[in-house]
């Protein structure tokens, strides 16, 4: 039976290094000690060989190339988007996987500037990813989480975001509007490959009224 208070009144047990005697030194070099050390080494090698693929498995999602993710998705006929308006569109994620259910759906804001000019914004706020809503009267996107606001063209208007909305790359095929979607847009995994020439983080003045009037 072991009493937890065994060391009553004594200082906490400490291991004190001491000079080894000749017998102890000899024992440390015995055949059995050597074999034990060898077995530890063997297990270390086997453990490492086991660990490498396990770590590889765990890091699998991280090692994927961001550019490899995603594909072109159709958002329907361009005629659905009147010039000068901004509309919400749902589409099925091209990277939707088995069992994703409703989470495989994505929404984006499509702004038609002219017959051939579009802007397709991710709904994810550039601050922390909450879904922004479009207000056509005040021509602002507003975020419900921390009050980020963006102008019609996606530029930052006010609040905690440090940049404008993420934009998807788009193209027109016939009269169909297509965007390139994949990663969930964040500061590190931007929706738009077209915006690569822009700096990742653009802190803009809150008074920037937007580029086109």
């Amino acid at each position: 039976m072991s009493e937890p208070q065994q060391h009553s009144g004594e200082p906490i047990a400490t291991v004190v290094p001491h000079e080894k005697t000749a017998e102890e030194k000899a024992a440390a070099h015995s055949r059995r000690t050597f074999l034990f050390k060898l077995s530890v080494l063997l297990n270390g090698a086997v453990g490492a060989a086991l660990a490498v693929p396990i770590v590889g498995y765990l890091l699998g999602p991280a090692s994927r190339k961001a550019e490899a993710e995603g594909a072109w998705v159709g958002l329907g006929s361009a005629d659905n988007f009147p010039v000068g308006e901004t509309r919400l569109v749902d589409f099925e994620s091209p990277v939707k996987g088995l069992g994703d259910g409703e989470t495989g759906k994505v929404a984006c804001w499509v702004r038609r500037i002219s017959a051939s000019q579009f802007q397709v914004f991710a709904i994810n706020c550039a601050h922390l990813g909450c879904p922004v809503r479009w207000f056509s009267e005040s021509k602002l996107f507003m975020c419900p989480c921390h009050g980020g606001a963006y102008y019609e063209n996606g530029d930052r208007a006010s609040g905690p975001p440090e940049r404008g909305l993420f934009e998807y790359k788009y193209k027109l095929t016939g009269d169909g509007l297509m965007i390139h979607a994949g990663d969930m847009p964040t500061l590190a995994t931007q929706a738009s490959c077209a915006g690569k020439d822009k700096p990742l983080v653009q802190i803009q003045a809150a008074t920037n009224p937007g580029e086109e009037v």
Binding site: L88, K105, L128, K139, H146, G147, A157, M184
Partner: protein, 504 residues
Amino acid sequence: MASIKDRATDAGLGAFNWVESRLGLFKTAWGFASHPTPENNASWWYVFGSAATVLLILQIVTGILLALIYSPSAGEAWSSLNVLNHNIALGWYVRALHGWGSDFMIAIVLIHMAQVFLFGAFKFPRELTWMVGVLLLLLTLGMAFTGQVMRFDQDSYWGLGIGASISSRVPLIGAPLVHLVLGGPTIGAATLSRFFTLHVFVIPGILLASVGVHIWMTLFHGVSDWPVPGRIVRKETYVKEYHELTAKTGIPFVPDAAWKDAVFAAAIIFAVMACAFFFGPFGPGGPPDPTIIQTAPKPDYFFLWIYAVLAFLPPSIETPVILVVPVIGIAAMLLLPLVSGEGERHWAKRPVAVLMVSVIAVSLGIFTHLGTYTPWSPIMNAWSSDPVPVKFLQHRTPLERQGAVVLQNKQCRNCHALDGVGGERGPALDDVASRMTEDQIIRQVLQGGGNMPAYGNALNPSETKALTQFLESLRGNDLAPAIDASRELTKTSEMKAPAEPARH
């Protein structure tokens, strides 16, 4: 001839001895349970650690019960929670116990930590006990966050989005980190599966092992004695003094001290049961469908303060603060006992410690309170649901009333309140004209600034005119209008002396 009762007792004792002589655990366990502890710590202040352990056991039991029904699949999780709430007998109650148990556990762990800190119980020789305790706090919060993900509703979905967005701010490895957190390019099946694995296997495993180590160290060093002002902790003498105190005033922990632990634990479990019964389970809220954007995501109660802090950080320092401050905070908690492992234990002799606990508690309280009503968020439907109060329309010119229509249509109310109704992101407009001149109002509306977007692109000149006329009429209880002190000077010419500024 022995009576039947004696024979039954003998048989029972015999069976016990048979088991114990093979198992060898009961005597050892009793030795631990009845170890002597200084009389002065058999106090109601020393009951929080055991209560946290009891709550952990409640969480494990109710968690296993929920796992009988819950489907950890992105396509089914939300529905399976609704099945638990509505279609399984008492499923709602088990969910409620687990949800309320989680809130109580965090609260009790925080109280336990504050008590240990204020009583100086983290000092020598219990430094490592405190460090493992810090780990336990982090694991408990980890359980709370992953548990919120298990609910897999709208809040949970966007909460994951916030987690991914924070990960994306890590320099260099942002993108791989996002993919690692989400288990893929987007929030989906892989995300829920990995958070389920964390919530059910990984964190509970580490948590239980760490609780075991934590309790072992408490037994090994004994429960800390009641702090006395002037009784200084010194590494050379503390252990000896503690054991002298135990030898002199020691009482067996079980039952003489432990009955208070047991009563408090029972009260806490009863409180969890009462909350679960009367207030029911948490959610689930709306389905985790990212195309439903009519939502204002919010984290669970104990993360509201972080949510609030994230609204106030200026954009330019947000990323460094998010990434550096938690590391400093955790490091400070871990290093605390190494930095101040000796000295006074009593709170009366440690004003800085008392001040720190007070400031941290008040700050957390304020930010949590702000998080409950999010004054920084626009009220998305204020413009379409809250009409301009009639009193602001009386005795107004047609142009001013037209301006009220502009104010309403241009969604100004989403951020600005009138008569206490509307958003709180910007200042209330009830008496805006007593603070700003017409020129200032026009400039502010058209160019924005100070956290207000510019409306130059959203207003035509006639709308601007009407809006500013209406705003000019908002002077609260007939306060004097704001005046531009330099305006009178502009009316002067070289030919005549400046007029006296008009006085209102």
